[in-house]
Assembly symmetry: C3
Homo-oligomer: 349 residues x 3
């Protein structure tokens, strides 16, 4: 896998991680256990006891420490073994790796790279479930596919016209009109005006509108998207530029999505979606989540099928199209960041 290590990866929904219930997962092929003490404070470390490799996620929380429940080694939050039952001396190598962890925007984020580089400023600005402006539903989905394929999917919304012809009912314009794509420091911004049948699904349209949709796709694989409906002609009057979202007539929603590479061929996908409080209610949120359940299932079907074909194809090649511009720019950025990491590492050593 060619992924950035110096980045915050979503490990779970914050509310799903209960105090003293360690949770084992994989991120970038590494087994990771995330846990909270009784006060709810987070810790994350290698999910693999230094003794005989039992997963610590089957362990027991004891105050600020986590005990391996195979032979009883006790670990502190830094990953150091602080007790070996019946043994006085604790060897210096008796430790596992720890990971910086943070709870923000309703997600638990894990930093997979150098501890010194871990800066919470780099956590993407997702909209949490408790955000006062939005009424959000949420969910998650496991993929039998490489995370990069999901990123690629999210970076090219031309697929909406085909994959989601039934769920979103997206107009052909999604495939035929090229969005404006801007490089960001750690991602790309994708902006579009869509005319025609382009309201939020489930929303009544009283007048001719056009819809603005904009998302940032940020390292390591986080999509932050908003959109809204404006009177016909707004796009033209702005020269195709971005509108002031607070002036939207209706249909303003926000979705935060995060793709976490677990292993080479598995990934976990976290998402929330819902209307702005001024443009919808719990009923609209539930409608949107019903559509999302269908649409994200469509994505999963095509991406897992794509993965199976790739697996059956030795030395496969892809043939990029102009619609791939966002995909290409983002993947190039990831490659550059990953290369820089390796260079720093080889200079340091």
């Amino acid at each position: 896998m060619n992924y950035v290590k110096n980045a915050w990866y979503v490990a779970s929904w914050a509310q799903d991680l209960l105090p003293e219930k360690p949770y084992g997962t994989f991120i970038l092929n590494e087994p990771v256990v995330v846990w909270r003490n009784a006060d709810g404070e987070l810790a994350a470390m290698e999910d693999r006891c230094v003794h005989r490799l039992a997963p610590l996620s089957l362990g027991r929380c004891e105050g600020d420490k986590l005990r391996c429940m195979y032979h009883g080694l006790l670990f502190d939050r830094t990953g150091a073994v602080v007790e070996i039952p019946g043994q006085d001396l604790i060897p210096a190598q008796a430790r596992v790796r720890s990971y910086p962890a943070a709870e923000k925007h309703s997600w638990v984020w894990i930093w997979m790279g150098d501890h010194e580089a871990a800066d919470e400023v780099l956590i993407p600005g997702a909209v949490g479930l408790d955000h006062p402006d939005y009424i959000l539903g949420h969910g998650q989905l496991d993929y039998a596919a490489e995370a990069r394929l999901i990123n690629d999917n999210l970076l090219d919304f031309s697929h909406l016209s085909y994959v989601h012809a039934n769920s979103f009912g997206a107009p052909e314009a999604w495939a035929y009109e090229r969005p404006k794509i801007t490089m960001l420091e750690r991602g790309v911004r994708v902006e579009r005006w869509i005319t025609g049948e382009s309201a939020v699904p489930g929303e009544a349209i009283g007048q001719p509108i056009e819809r603005f949709a904009s998302y940032d796709f940020l390292v390591p694989g986080v999509l932050l998207m908003t959109g809204g409906n404006f009177p016909q002609g707004t796009s033209q009057s702005l020269g195709g530029g971005a509108p002031d979202m607070s002036k939207a007539l209706a249909g303003v929603t926000f979705t935060s999505q995060a793709v976490t590479p677990m292993t080479d061929k598995t990934a976990r996908y976290f998402f929330s979606w819902g209307p702005h409080r001024d443009h919808g209610d719990e009923a609209l949120r539930d409608t949107l989540m019903g559509i999302a359940a269908m649409a994200f299932g469509e994505d999963k079907d095509i991406i897992e099928a794509q993965q199976r074909v790739m697996d059956a194809t030795p030395d496969f090649r892809i043939m990029p199209t102009t619609a791939d511009r966002g995909v290409t720019l983002f993947n190039r950025l990831v490659e550059k960041l990953a290369r820089d990491e390796r260079t720093r590492l080889s200079v340091a050593s």
Copy 2:
């Protein structure tokens, strides 16, 4: 896999392939999509979009064309991309492989080799479900085993006395008497006279009979078998030769069977069986199909078990017996044809 590419492989029952419902399969490790337009005309091509490898079998038929439902690339029947949404220029390499396809004898056949060599004359003469002389049932079965093991099974009917002791109730003679085996241009012919308890299962025997059974096993893996009951002594009077089937007293049936290698360790097996209209009716056909369901399950059990043992045996060897003569002759023919193909290929390039 060592298989012949210049051959017609059965992809499906013709009646199961509905207009505008693309069907994805694997043949010789290659992903293949087979589809019909609204008029029922067949096309077959690589089931792998040139853009990002999504399977075209999840695509949408549009007249004579097939659209990839990931990002909308449109393919004609030759495999050429004729439209990329939102992109004017279509690169020369924007195409996937196509395969000659034919509908004949109730099966859809795909030619996996050179287009120029595809000749429908080479389609084995199976008896289709609509044949006026026979009342046929049909079915198919998926194997977790290499196709060659199924071919080997069908090329040596000595297994009838053991594998099918319960279903066919075949007499020991199947194992003890050697059939007459004749080389054909693209296969072998296997002929036998069986005496003793040798009626078609389910058929009443009013007088002492003996049964003649003959099948051709043809490249790439198609069995065409008929048989019938004759008065005792017929075999001797013919010097063991083949009788005139139209003179059979009773019990004339026909079975067509095709083995298609999907991947290295999976295969699909298609079959039909039933009585000649003069020697049976729908009730006998149903009896035969019940027996076939049991017998083909017995074959699957032993062959899949054999595959598992082979998988657990590094560098395994087999020890041929005299009963293997048909197996050996057919496999040698396949090896020769496959070798000739590679030679022609290396001369051509």
Copy 3:
């Protein structure tokens, strides 16, 4: 796998192997068929026909012989082919390997090494289900893990305090006090005095006691354990030495356990447990078996999880603790025996 071949491996419970019902299994990655003739006499051989590798465990017993039910080859108890249907000459290489087999202590044992070295004296002295002194329950469990990991588990009972905190309710002493470990010719002996809450589960304690527990763990992976309750102070009066088990106040039980490596990542675990007739009855046996079902499930959970983490860890290392002494001594013995076998083999050839 690094295991001893010159050893008796448990293939099955003797009572589960019915006359003329061949049973196929794997031992040390080799397919083995074990079977009894109508008189109940045992035979064991390679579960792989020399003809085309079909498993003989799908075969038919015919007196003292076993017939492959694919094409009818007939094998005698030494693995030699004695009949090939329809073929007069039987080639010299027409044989499969046979294995010495023995029924003892309610188990069927298979010797996986040199025939000449097979000596029933080397069968570990398990307590069979028909032993007059014990009332035993029994069972077996399949593992998706390497046998060595189960051996390691059984060689270090410090895990009782953690893995089995809920089932056995083992006191912390199991982890904190080091047992006395003695090398045996083909294994290790592990002896412990446990004070505190240490009765047999389900047994009422009328007076302050201490419990003695002792087991031998023998090549290839057989645990033979007994224990009993003694008046407080017994341990001290014996200087920590082993007591006379016949003087136990109560709580004497016996458990025999055997770990059989099937393939690199699968194993079968056989076990019996129950009270001495003087110290319990069928009801106590059933209580113990209920606890064992829970406890052995806990072992399976942690060991299979450990295996998954190992599989996800290239070039993993373990960090032994002092509690690993029994593990280390036993594994060193196995390595030495396996090395000696290979040396003898290379000298012999």
